[in-house]
Symmetry: C2
Subunit: 396 residues, 2 copies
């Protein structure tokens, strides 16, 4: 049979990164290509205690069908923590539990986007989110990045140029892939532009807790008195990504529409996973665990940056992130980074070419992304030395 | 802010059943409204053993990110079981793990349907699936049910009448809500019509294992030499629904497209839940567990049917299912069943009016659905007596 697929899915290619990761099964490969949290950071002992207790005492509550909006005690705990600790959410908002923040992108896109609608995004940006917008037939427009976040003049120009703009997608903290943090001034300016042009902001904050230096910058959502901001959070980086639990804080009407979309997406998120997150927050002190995580990430970031300072050709620029999981490098002269990344792979080091994160997939990118959270310290030292040599051979 | 939602989501109302269930929190209410498996059927001891073992021995493997297509040992085990035990799937097919069968409906709809495309469905049918088709802007056309499955003449008439038909959605075993099983002759005829008119079949089989009497009828997918059938299965009724693990067996090209859609839907299904299913199949003998389940369901079905035979007004017709979770009743004279269901709720018994499952939501239904798997034996006896009295008052 000749299959006829939907128009909207034709534009979506498999994630280049996930394809690279699938290919790189060679155990000797040093991978800086993943976006995985450090495995030594998983609270596996506590997860084991929690699951043992609930399966002994009340197994039916975690094995039976449950409510689409989320396990009620988890919703309540996160609503309270988001309000009190992060000042995110008010009486006009609702908190919805989702199957990882990726599902938040999917549900939000589904309820908001008609085919042909426009989405603005930092360029480069997280490919999983960009692909979810593409999968609903959106036209993406990229806004170039600067050291303190996206270029405001370019943002306003786009807002004036394009019709049918529905929202701006932003990762204000330790952006993926650039590692850049948006300044407080820019956050306020972006929020004001959203209100002025009456479009929504989708604020994605998976890494916000993983700050290793500098001053905390509040979320754009903390400014939201007008219902223009949908905030996305996740347990993937602070407890464990395999659980697939995230959440959104969104204006009631949007949240309820997303819940209807979730009913037909997966009925509800795996209850055992939600229960683990809820008990972890209630019994084991998530905020204390985050302090431990920061120590691991600080050591790994500094190790990788230190090795890069030693071994990299100074003509290759790179960001110095204040948190998150990624360092972004740029080859000089606007050259395409794909051949560089291919040569690195041949020498046993996997990195992700910047084109994987480009808003315009037909453009050329000189960038490549390094992840420091997944590899061992030993592999960081070995891998950066190999890449460093390559930067001298490649860039004369 | 005034929100503008996508056109496709306007047609989707919240599931009437889930709304009824949310309202009916009165602990004295006898609910025949759910579609939940019997809680005493959950293998909670085994689930506890499995999670304790993996979290002690190899926690990272269940807590880290994983592959979109599914935990490889589970994919392999299910592929083998589906082929050897059920004769479902061949070398042209692939098995994909999904977050419950509801996600299979969602992903399949997303990759196949453009807005305005037509989906044919048994009428009445499972509202979760119908809503997922509606949420991609599909136009639904209902095919009336007969005692041995959908009306073939009406099916062929629809195939000749409508343009842009993409697929037929079918639940051949113990259909939800009717409890009806499609005969082998009709399965063959439907497959031949799909090939003749070159449209796909989406075959949903969540209850197939729960046969309590009569001869097994093979899946339509067992006939599929031409790549016209996408088969959906689930662990919800045979292990536990809270885990949210299901699977599809579909032609390679469709399966790969669905995997791309899954990448942007939730990255992958919760690994701990997949691991539980895999170990349960490998270590604890799923097929033996199913034999135990059947005993529970057989007793409950016979108990409810027996009480109905005693207490129901003989003018109210009802199906006698050979398995599954549901009995479907029909009030005589084509009257609307909603006032009957409202009166039942007032008397402390929740049932679902047939309109909740209607393909045309603006039609009138005389039906109502009873579930026997969730209530206790005692509540079945009490609740059917109350309903029985009401049938005599209501139908003169």
């Amino acid at each position: 049979m000749q299959y006829q697929f939907s128009d909207k899915m034709v534009a979506v290619k498999p994630s280049a990164i996930r394809e690279i990761l699938k290919m790189s099964t060679d155990p000797n490969l040093i991978s800086f290509a993943a976006g995985n949290p450090a495995p030594d950071a998983f609270p596996s002992k506590e997860v084991a205690e929690i699951t043992a207790k609930v399966l002994a005492e009340d197994p039916v509550s975690v094995l039976q069908y449950s409510i689409t909006e989320g396990y009620p005690p988890l919703r309540q705990a996160m609503k309270q923590m988001m309000r009190e600790h992060y000042h995110v959410g008010n009486d006009q908002d609702e908190l919805l539990i989702v199957s990882g923040a990726e599902q938040a992108c999917d549900l939000f896109s589904k309820v908001i986007l008609n085919e042909g609608d426009v989405v603005l995004a930092e360029d480069p940006s997280f490919v999983g989110a960009l692909n979810s917008f593409r999968s609903y037939g959106a036209k993406l427009v990229g806004i170039p990045m600067e050291e303190d976040g996206l270029n405001l003049a370019e943002l306003e120009k786009a807002l004036q140029t394009y019709e049918k703009i529905k929202f701006i997608y932003l990762i204000p903290n330790f952006q993926n892939p650039t590692g850049i943090t948006m300044s407080w001034a820019k956050r306020k300016a972006v929020y004001e532009l959203a209100v002025k042009y009456n479009i929504l902001i989708l604020e994605d904050n998976p890494y916000g807790d993983l700050r290793i230096k500098g001053e905390n910058v509040p979320a754009i959502k903390t400014l939201d008195k007008t219902g223009h901001v949908v905030y996305m959070g996740s347990f993937s980086k602070v407890i464990a990504p395999g659980l697939r639990v995230g959440y959104t804080v969104a204006p009631q009407e949007i949240s309820q529409k997303m819940a209807i979309a979730k009913q037909v997406a997966d009925v509800h998120t795996t209850i055992l996973a939600q229960y683990i997150c809820e008990r972890y927050v209630a019994v084991y002190d998530l905020l204390a665990h985050i302090e431990d995580l920061k120590k691991i990430y600080k050591r790994k970031t500094e190790l990788m940056l230190g090795e890069m300072d030693k071994h990299f050709n100074p003509k290759v620029a790179y960001t110095r992130p204040e948190g998150g999981l990624f360092i972004y490098c740029t080859l000089p002269g606007g050259v395409d980074s794909i051949p560089f990344c291919q040569e690195a792979l041949k020498r046993g080091v996997a990195v992700v070419p910047g084109i994987a994160f480009a808003v315009d997939e037909d453009s050329v990118s000189s960038g490549f992304r390094l992840n420091f959270s997944t590899p061992s310290d030993e592999n960081i030292v070995k891998g950066i030395e190999i890449l460093g040599k390559l930067t001298y051979e490649w860039v004369k």
